[in-house]
Amino acid sequence: MPEKTYLQAISDGLRQEMRRDERVFVLGEDVGVYGGAFKLTVGFLEEFGPWRVIDTPLSEIAIVGSATGTALMGLRPVAELQFADFISCAWDQVVTVAAKQHYRAGTSVPLVLRLPSGGGFSGGPFHSQSPESSFTHVPGLKVVCPATPHDAKGLLATAIEDPNPVLYFEHKHLYRRIKAEVPDERYTIPFGKARIHRAGGDVTVVTWGAMVYTAAEAAGELSAEGVSVEIVDLRTLQPWDKQAVLESVAKTSKLLILHEDTRTSGFGAEIAAQVVEDAFEHLDAPIRRIAAPDTPIPFSPVLEKAYIPQVEDVAVALRELAAY
């Protein structure tokens, strides 16, 4: 099986979907001639032509709104927002139009928004955000946050097949840093099924996206100290795999929730509430949350490092939980 970067897996998966289904097309800023700000759609324009790889004006409202219109007419748009941060410009189109259409009018909106998100490279307050939690609060949307190249390809295929608006958050810091085996053939990964990134018996970490790797490094440290950590990678936040979390907590009795999004009203709060409601009797320690502080994401590397949860933060919390 070939090894691919996370970015290559998304790119190959998208190309495969476009070859397989002529209803699938991409649109966004600089996706055509330039091949995308992250070069994910390089070669697409040449292969699929200018009406399936559409360079748009700098108009997030028009990108998401027109994609919704094409979805309503039976196409399968995959719209790229150059940075997930820019989705704020198109909030109405996502939240007001696309998310509520099926409930109100009974018409499906099979729309995928590709959202390069996350920090770690001094992108500053407007190119580094992880806004996934905000959209889990909007009924009608699905929210996907792949962590591995394998999941990135399989979850993208599922997103394109899905008859609902899907927000596909691809973590920019994983694009070229993470490489793993990815099958050449097409496959899908169901939404709402978590993946056990690492099995363990003493403490559970629930996380997603780039934080999976931060958790894994910390778990490696703890392993050397005799503490066995289980890492549950949620893969999708809406829907999310409550069962997998509850099962892991039933086994370990200790839970750390880790995310790169800010703390207050971050999705970790929802996970904690659910575990308290459904598995209180299994808990042997207070639930811990590690998240970014409630600030904008700062630019200077030293500040950004202090903002994004680091391996050492996680290791300290895991030690405390293990000793509780």
Binding site: M73, D92, Q93, V97, T107
Partner: protein, 348 residues
């Protein structure tokens, strides 16, 4: 304030027939306008009787603009009508009883009680249900046209908006994108002179909203929105131009909002003289006069049609009132679409 064309501009029958409208079609348009106003008048009464929850909006004064444009569309064309455009739904075949059921929050309304008033549309008529954030529908309408262009279909999308909606960024992004890609979309601005309480001089500083079309690289035109035949003529030309691949047009239909923003609003901020002036140009009365003068429509024929519409609406109301209320047990159903709702999987 935008200036409409001369009020005497309704053409002769031979002129109109050349545009593809025969006598039967003309009488059909008159009937659609009557049904449109009748539904809204009936809705107004039902609202005052407490049978319609929430608020209630009408498009009184806009019947010619809505019916004129909708008549110029083909069934396969699509669009995003807004809250003054009930005539579009009526013309494209949404049954009046279903509209009244929608008003009353019944299961037979197109939104099945999940949304109210004019927030309705049936995809069978290629109409998309509007949201309250009105210009947000404009990029969606552009997307309908984009789908037609991608698939090389000879279909056209119509995007409705108002003088108020024109002020928002969505309108700009939608028209700019449509202009850049010369998409088959016709923008129809229902300029009824008031955005809630705000008059044109506080909504835009150019002479006409249609002037903006030049900035997007396509044609803009002002038409008397109380003259159904003038609206039809401009709409037909623009729609067929779009179908031929010659890009978008912005048609500004100038009319007057003859009631408040919604039923709670007495429109006391509107100078009385304006209501008096525009009531002389009532779109339905004008067209009735034209039909009798130019299309040999006698008093008996027109009265019979008007009585027929009344009977139709009485029956529509009866049927709507007998429609069940939605079952609260189904509250949480249908937030998400199921895969089987979408046809045409490449595996199928």
């Amino acid at each position: 304030m935008a200036i409409a064309r001369d009020t005497e501009s309704l053409g002769s029958l031979p002129e109109i027939e050349e545009l593809g409208l025969g006598r039967a079609e003309l009488l059909g348009m008159y009937r659609d306008m009557l049904i449109t106003r009748g539904i809204e008048e009936r809705g107004h009464i039902l609202y005052k009787q407490g049978k319609i929850p929430g608020s209630f909006y009408t498009g009184r004064g806009n019947e010619a603009a809505a019916v004129g444009v909708a008549t110029a569309m083909r069934p396969e064309d699509a669009g995003t009508p807004l809250h003054r455009d009930m005539g579009v739904h009526v013309t494209r075949g949404v049954e009046p009883w279903r509209i009244l059921a929608q008003y009353m929050g019944r299961v037979d309304g197109p939104a099945r009680g999940r949304d109210g008033n004019v927030h309705l549309a049936q995809i069978e008529q290629n109409l998309i249900a509007m949201v309250s954030h009105l210009p947000a529908m404009m990029p969606v309408a552009v997307g309908l046209a984009l789908a037609f262009r991608i698939r090389n279909e000879r279909r056209v999308s119509v995007s409705w908006f108002g003088d108020g909606a024109a002020a928002r960024g969505d309108a700009h992004e939608a028209m700019n994108f449509a202009g850049v890609r010369r998409l088959p979309v016709v923008f129809v601005c229902d300029n009824n002179q008031y955005a809630y309480s705000t008059p044109p001089q506080f909504e835009y500083a150019c002479a006409n909203i249609s002037d903006r079309a030049a900035a997007y690289g396509f044609e803009g035109t002002v038409v008397d929105g109380t003259d159904v035949l003038a609206v039809y003529t401009e709409a037909k030309r623009a729609i067929e131009k779009a179908r031929e691949g010659d890009g978008p047009t912005l048609i500004e239909c100038v009319s007057f909002r003859m009631e408040g923003h919604a039923v709670h609003d007495d429109a006391s901020y509107v100078p009385r003289e304006l209501f008096e002036e525009w009531s002389k140009r009532d779109p339905i009365a004008r067209f009735r006069l034209w039909l009798s003068e130019h299309a040999r429509a006698g008093e008996a024929e027109l009265s019979e049609m008007e009585e027929g519409v009344k009977t139709l609406l009485v029956e529509a109301q009866r049927r709507a009132e007998s429609s069940p209320l939605p079952d609260p047990a189904e509250l949480e159903q249908g937030v998400y679409a199921e895969p089987e709702e979408l046809e045409g999987s490449p595996d199928a």
